[in-house]
Structures are given as C-alpha cells and as structure tokens.
Assembly symmetry: none
Homo-oligomer: 156 residues x 2
DNA sequence: GCTAATCCCATTGACCCCCAAATATACCCA
DNA sequence: TGGGTATATTTGGGGGTCAATGGGATTAGC
C-alpha cells in the first residue's frame, strides 16, 4: 500500500511546531496512536518518520526471532537484536496537536539542519523530513546519478 | 505492546532521587505496584528496569516450566533455573515518591557509574538507566556497528 | 536521641490546548 | 469558462496545566 507520496514544504514556527501535510496525516489516521514515530536517519541528514504500527511490527519481529531461544532470557540478559534496541532508544513519539502539527525535538532538527522550514518527503511506506535546501541538493544528485546510470538516453 | 521508547536524561539530586520520565511512569501505571523493579545489567554498565508484573510472569514461568517438566523436585529443592534465581536475588523494588521519583541504591548507581545525572533508555519491553556519557558512547558504537552491517545497501 | 528515609510544599520551565487570522483549495453557478 | 463563495489547511500567539526539581519538615528506625 503506497501511502506517502510527493513532497511538501511547511513552515516551522518559533515554538518548533510544523504542520504535517494533510495527505500524510490521512495516511496515518488508521494507526492506533495519533502521531508519528521519528528517528534520525543513520546515513542522511534527515529525519525518518512512520506510523506507530510499523514500530509495533518491529517489536514483534524481535519477539518472533527469539522464539527458539527464550524470551525471558533475552529480556534478562539483553543481547537481543542490536538494531531494534538501538532504534527503541533513539525514536521519539511526536503527538499531533489539535491542528495536526508536531513539535520537532531540537536534537532531531539539528541533525537534519532544519531551522524555519521543513520538507516532508514521501517514500511510499514511510516518509522523511529534510531541510528544504539539503533535500534539493540530495535530490538533484540522486537524479544525476540515475541519468548517468541510464546511459546517454534521455532519462526516464 | 511497545511501552518504553526514547531516551530521557534527568537529574539526580543530593538525596539520590531521580524523576522517572512521565511516559515511563504511565506505562508502569497498570502494574500492581507503584514503582520499578531494577537490577544491575549482567553485560553492560547499566541498570535494567521493568514493571512488577514482568517479575510475576517470570515467577509463573519458572513454576510452569518445572511442573510440565515433571521436575517437582527441582521446584522444591531449588535446583532449577539459575538465571531466574540469580535475578530474583539481586532485584530491588524502587517505590515512587508522590512526585514520581525513585531513590537509586548506591550499589546500583555505582555499577552504572551514575553520579548527578541519569539517562532513562527505552528498550520496548523494558528500559535501562545509564550514566549519560556511558550511554552516549555505547549508543554511538551500536550505531557504528549498524552502519557497517547495513554495508552499502540503501536502508535507513 | 540521632540518622536516614519519606512526605509535603514551592518554584521553575516546558508542553499542550484553545482561539483566531491568513492562505490555499475545492465547489458552485451564472 | 470565469468569478465568486465556501471549505479545508496552514500559521500565529496567549495562557493554563503538568512535569521536573529543590528544600524543608515530619516520621520511622536504630
């Protein structure tokens, strides 16, 4: 199911609030929690975002993976999945205010270089939040790479 | 259900008191006991924490395991699960004060290297308490490992 | 009677809600 | 097709509420 499409740029006010684009909110509406789950991208200057349901699936994956082992042993001794533990520690839950805005934690805003405007970038089953200029540069470069890879034809 | 998310850093006052983050308190609220169960992590310089209910489950599980294994002797003679026995012996019950704070036993604080600030680290089912600097180092290393593991795929 | 733990209260600051204006989008009718 | 209106979305700000913190008072334990 392709939920998050296209790119929207919204303003960040002096309280660090920013409106989540209405189409994205609609896509999140089915989720149990009225808000987003976010964490800093590990390889880009951006914030990764998805629904609470996806996080639950991640947690379930850990559970099922430890089936043959022992849930409690893992609970007590640790030594579980490094990825999942690391993600749980660095995610933030951003609830919507009545107007459909979220507050960007300053550490995440800094990571993405976001100050007064934020670009919401659809990635299908998830989306990202960028500083508009950084995203523009990243996108230009990505398109260039695609063109080169496509050879000398005139691109997709 | 994924209850413990994100990382919060709170101050430890001169009476060794520290506020448990409100979202974590909310997650513990259903429990029969108004407080936490903690014990020193066996593999890290951190304190492991979870609700009283989880402890009950541990006990029940140990019980049922002994019974179904026909090892009634084990239950009675105590030759059973070394891990659970060990944990039962070293856990502490930390009750909340009216403001939602707990007092860190000095042995545990020492184990984790906690002095004036404590990082509460969500791990999904449970959480940990670290010295902020130690956690930062640990998390950085974990993220590095993830980046290497991800290699050059285009994951998050 | 002294020490230590727990409770009670006050202060600070962050967060969240409500209201209101401005802007953009969709709709309708001539 | 065009103008104009109605609706939804985005944006701004004030104020109340709750969480975190610090200090003093009271109780329990030794």
């Amino acid at each position: 199911m392709t939920a998050f499409l296209s790119t929207y740029v919204n303003k960040v006010d002096r309280k660090k609030r920013v409106s989540v684009p209405a189409p994205f909110r609609a896509a999140l509406a089915g989720s149990s929690f009225g808000g987003l789950i976010v964490y800093p991208s590990l390889r880009e200057s951006a914030i990764e975002a998805f629904s609470r349901d996806v996080l639950e699936q991640l947690n379930n994956r850990r559970m099922s993976r430890s089936l043959e082992g022992d849930d409690f042993e893992q609970l007590l001794l640790g030594g579980g999945d490094g990825l999942i533990d690391a993600v749980m520690a660095m995610v933030h839950e951003l609830p919507f205010d009545p107007e459909g805005r979220v507050v960007l934690p300053s550490a995440l805003a800094a990571h993405a270089g976001i100050t007064d405007r934020a670009a919401f970038v659809g990635r299908g089953n998830r989306f990202q939040i960028w500083a508009p200029e950084a995203f523009q540069a990243h996108q230009d470069e990505a398109i260039d790479a695609l063109r080169r890879r496509a050879g000398n034809g005139d691109g997709p």
